[in-house]
């Protein structure tokens, strides 16, 4: 093949491929009618984040009950884990095969689906003034609202707290710290008592972001922090960022046994260190409280306590902020069974099912008002949700509140900080660059 012929063939092939792929927008489809009367027939597909024990049976039981109520309906469950659901959702989205109901985080994650027309506008059935909407806490509903419209059904609330072993604290003669500095100074006493002060595993990168985001909320004024999540308005020049990075590094070096090797430890290994009575503290979500004190673990529910990550002295941000946000489900905006999907989610959030979800072994504090009580939930979950409700503001997870490029830069920076391969200044500079490139 001579050069001219080769060039021609290449050009034709490229054009053919372009034609096959097709440029332009997706095919316009009619918006889902969520307020229509549901037709109880057909297959309803649901993508959940409840794969694995102890959560997996929750949706399985719901599906079985719903199918028993409506024999012509088949519920098809796709259950994924916290890590795998990210890939699964994007693969299904890219291939135009998103299920009728699918899991979503708040922030930029959900906003992408809203922007792309893949999340049905539920205002008519879920707005705060509606009967169904009135059953949820208003803050939980607001977390899934964009430009005054409501898109997500908040299934449960969540927040991040330091879980601790009361027995170990007593043996080490340590009290619950009230400042970040006190937390750091308590670590040596705990270590002398023979325990790892704080168990921490950062293999996946995001656990480090949880520490950072809470420290940012403490050290950076709220309006500046919110502006910095959006690349178009971000300046990332508040001194609170450097302070937060330094505090995080100090915590890793002084309070974990793994130190600069923390990137090589699984999140669940750290969780097991607290549950197994080897570590005194472990920074965790409310959703994990019943797991670390589950039957068979060393840590008993009565020995388990929680406190928010203590506020650093002189912090310039909001000392009452807690990192966390509800997690919930969106209805596919292109689903022909949107009304049936709404009906299923109404069923999933009845007072009875909400209480079941909030109680052990699930321990997922429902966003339905009144579902989490001292009788239905464990003491720790009840206290955690009380603190979440009392927080001056909820700060969404750093890896879902901002655009993926910036979140990825924070993630890589956090890892480099832990391993000692970058200084706080270098980390912040790399994030600034990522934010500038994402504009």
């Amino acid at each position: 093949m001579n050069a001219r012929r080769f060039a021609t063939v290449t050009a034709v092939s490229a054009l053919a491929a372009l034609a096959l792929t097709g440029c332009g927008g997706g095919s316009p489809e009619a918006a889902a009618d969520v307020s229509a009367a549901p037709e109880y027939a057909g297959t309803l597909s649901i993508l959940t984040k409840f794969a694995g024990e102890p959560l997996e049976p929750y949706f399985e039981d719901l599906a079985a009950e719903y199918e028993a109520l409506h024999p012509d309906v088949t519920v098809e469950l796709i259950q994924e884990t916290d890590q795998s659901i990210k890939d699964k959702t994007k693969t299904l989205t890219a291939s135009g095969a998103l299920p009728d109901i699918y899991f979503s985080w708040t922030g930029n994650w959900a906003e992408n689906f809203v922007r792309g027309g893949l999340a049905a506008d539920l205002t008519e059935v879920l707005g705060p003034d509606t009967e169904w909407g009135g059953s949820f806490g208003e803050a939980s509903l607001d977390a899934f609202s964009y430009e005054g419209k409501y898109y997500g059904i908040p299934l449960y609330n969540n927040g991040k707290f330091m879980g601790y072993n009361k027995d170990v604290f007593e043996k080490a003669g340590v009290k619950v710290p009230t400042t970040f500095e006190e937390l750091l100074s308590s670590c040596s006493a705990i270590r002398e008592a023979g325990y790892e002060p704080i168990a921490f595993g950062n293999k996946d990168g995001w656990p480090g972001l949880h520490y950072l985001q809470q420290l940012f909320a403490y050290n950076v004024p709220g309006d500046k922090l919110s502006a910095d999540f959006v690349p178009e308005s971000a300046t990332l020049d508040e001194p609170g960022y450097i302070k937060s990075l330094e505090q995080f590094k100090a915590l890793v070096d002084e309070c974990t046994d793994t130190g600069r090797g923390t990137n090589g430890v699984l999140y669940t290994t750290a969780q097991e260190a607290l549950a197994g009575g080897k570590a005194a503290m472990y920074y965790q979500e409310v959703l994990e409280f019943d797991t670390v004190t589950a039957e068979g673990t060393q840590l008993k529910p009565e020995d388990f306590g929680i406190f928010p990550l203590p506020v650093p002295t002189g912090a310039a941000g909001d000392p009452g902020a807690i990192e966390g946000s509800p997690e919930g489900y969106l209805i596919n905006g292109k689903s022909p069974r949107a009304a049936l999907a709404v009906d299923f989610m109404k069923f999933a959030t009845t007072a009875e099912n909400a209480s079941t979800l909030s109680a052990p072994p699930y321990g997922q504090p429902s966003a339905v008002v009144g579902a989490v009580t001292e009788d239905t939930s464990s003491a720790a979950v009840f206290e955690g949700i009380g603190r979440v409700n009392d927080a001056s503001q909820l700060v969404i997870w750093l890896d879902t509140v901002t655009v993926p490029e910036v979140a990825d830069a924070w993630l890589a920076g956090g890892e480099a900080l832990i391993s000692g391969d970058a200084t706080p200044e270098e980390v912040l500079e790399s994030v600034r660059n990522a934010s500038a490139a994402a504009k």
Binding site: T21, C23, T93, F113, G205, G264, E405
Partner: protein
């Protein structure tokens, strides 16, 4: 264990056949077909009919996706709205300016270099040693022992080594501490300086036995007279390895180099299981960087551009290696 020339009785040794020369084979009666254009076209049509299913399958599942991938690399694709905007070569320009892309490419090259050292040259030496053992039972046992890691899936092996490398509970640091070498204990996967090498080391453990087995088969095909003549001339095992074994397994070496380099540029599973590309992107390889851009950063057009680079690099290397090995073909 004594090293000696490969036994003639070893399986396959007696099956050595002369390699036919590169003579172009002609279908019997081809000249006669040309005299009748009707029969020729009928034969041709039948030939096309036989190969058509394979061509269609290959076209649909191999070549069309390749073209589509190239087309995607010229787009900015929003998976949420489905909007695709043609941006020409912008993704390739971005690629050139992306430091993580270059470090990922460097990691692939490092992977390839170390893999060739272990899985080609190391494997030849080991295979020659195994084939030089007198005892048939030992030879078989050693082949099996070295091959077993290859039977373990990469994901399982990755997970296994993740726990071996674990800084607090892992076996490697425990062994080092037990031997009084606590200072050598490292967070192997948790720091930039050791993470990539730790992943590559696992891969060598996993792939070494497979290539050793292939080389053992190739060595069995070498006529034992060559070794006998060399032994009579007083040539030692090392010189026999360099002057008889290595030249005569050149075809297998060429093939293994292609396979190893291609494998090194397609590496994905072990990195995902052990480090997910971290810490600080230090263990990113082209495959994982492609994945991260597509599935984490939602930049599928850029991910397609990385995929195109992987394809071009592996295709180029394979063609180059095929060309070289064809020119240096050994016959006996």
């Amino acid at each position: 264990m004594l090293l000696q020339q490969p036994s003639k009785t070893a399986s396959g040794a007696g099956l050595v056949q002369p390699v036919p020369g590169r003579r172009r084979l002609r279908r019997p009666g081809a000249r006669r077909d040309r005299s009748s254009s009707g029969r020729l076209s009928s034969v041709r049509l039948r030939s096309f009919a036989w190969v058509l299913p394979a061509v269609l399958l290959l076209g649909s599942f191999v070549y069309l996706p390749l073209l589509q991938n190239f087309a995607f690399s010229t787009l900015e694709w929003d998976i949420y709205s489905g909007r695709q905007t043609f941006i020409g070569g912008d993704n390739y320009v971005k690629l050139m300016q992306d430091p993580v892309f270059w470090s990922a490419l460097g990691n692939n090259v490092l992977y390839a270099v170390i893999s060739i050292a272990f899985q080609v040259f190391g494997a030849i030496v080991l295979a020659a040693m195994i084939e030089g053992i007198r005892s048939d039972r030992w030879r078989r046992a050693l082949r099996a022992i070295y091959f077993i890691p290859s039977a373990i899936s990469l994901t399982v092996a990755g997970l296994l080594f993740y726990f071996i490398y674990e800084p607090n509970l892992g076996m490697l640091n425990y062994v080092l501490e037990t031997l009084g070498l606590a200072a050598w204990a490292q967070p192997w996967l948790g720091q930039e300086s050791t993470a990539m090498l730790a992943v590559i080391a696992m891969s060598q453990w996993q792939g070494f036995g497979y290539s050793t087995l292939l080389f053992a088969v190739a060595i069995q095909r070498i006529p034992s007279e060559l070794y006998e003549a060399a032994a009579l001339d007083g040539i030692g095992p090392a010189r026999r390895l360099f002057h008889i074994t290595m030249p005569l397994v050149r075809e297998m070496s060429g093939l293994m180099i292609i396979v190893t380099i291609s494998g090194a540029f397609q590496v994905f599973n072990e990195v995902m299981v052990m480090t997910s590309g971290g810490p600080n992107n230090s263990t990113q390889v082209l495959g994982t960087w492609l994945y991260r851009n597509g599935f984490v950063r939602n930049d599928f057009g850029y991910a397609a551009a990385i995929a195109t680079v992987i394809f071009v690099v592996t295709l180029g290397l394979a063609l180059g290696q095929l060309y070289i090995s064809r020119k240096r073909r050994v016959e006996w």
